[in-house]
Symmetry: C2
Subunit: 150 residues, 2 copies
DNA sequence: TATTGTTATACTCTATAACTATA
DNA sequence: TATAGTTATAGAGTATAACAATA
């Protein structure tokens, strides 16, 4: 989980200030988004359901790598989904160390139900912005996602 | 900590999809940023130190409101800083229910030291972007901060 | 009674270390 | 030995509920 560094001295002050501003804004908004708990699955669980729904069958390692979390952390989230009946575990026929994870029909239903409720607060806020502002946020989201990958 | 809703039916699908994308990108980046732990104060603690440094003396309520967290939550963070000697508590002379919180000299030193290390990973990523991309992220951060306030 | 802060408690998410089973 | 996954344990950060002190 560690990332190579760049010597601090080579980074201009205005970039450090932007980093500061972004970090705080992201932490705040994350807090806000986590606070929206309409009774469905948790945010981490919903994210896994959406991945399995959109990209099909995945192994635990694939999920952990995609979401940038540790294997035990992802294992915990997946186990909770299995207990709830939203994800099924199937041993891989070709390599019995590997477990294939699939979303169930109940999981698909729950994902759709929870997604709309969980994103509703944010969506309502986005609706108050202009089209171009929304487009900017979309590009920002892509940039953030792209930055994580080294 | 609850926010008024907009009926789900009035929200266009593309806005819900953007909300989804943003929520996941923010959660991921938040995880990434939290993982950068160079041994200084924690992210929540650093944020409080920066507020006290930049905006001066604050009450617990003011800090909690500004960062959009509950009073007990902010109290915990502040207490940790007090124990470490980075923040001082002074009873307000005019209203003895109120406690004024100030950053100490040690706190200022620690904030500066930790800030650069903690933001270093993100700053290095930002450095790989173009000026206009950085400007976009800056505006995105402002939008995110603005959206939290109702 | 209302406000400010605090304490008690619980839950989510995350990590590292140690372990098991399979290759 | 190396890899995929799991279990055990710990810590950060957050919340709600109940309480104390002061206005």
């Amino acid at each position: 989980m560690s990332i190579p560094d760049t010597p601090a001295s080579t980074i201009p002050e205005d970039v450090v200030l932007l980093a500061d501003q972004l970090r705080i804004a992201i932490a705040r908004m994350n807090r806000r988004l986590r606070a929206q708990t309409p009774g469905g699955v948790t945010p981490a669980q919903l994210t896994v359901l959406l991945i399995l729904d959109r990209h099909g069958e995945q192994t635990l390692s694939q999920l952990a790598e995609r979401e940038l979390v540790s294997l035990p952390s992802m294992n915990r989230t997946v186990s909770q989904l299995v207990v709830q009946g939203f994800v099924s575990r199937t041993p891989s026929p070709s390599d019995r160390r590997v477990t294939l994870l699939q979303i169930t029909d109940a999981g698909r239903l729950e994902a759709e139900r929870t997604r709309r409720h969980r994103d509703q607060w944010l969506a309502a806020r986005l609706l108050e912005l202009s089209d171009s502002e929304r487009a900017q946020l979309g590009r920002a989201a892509e940039m953030l996602n792209g930055m994580g990958c080294r």
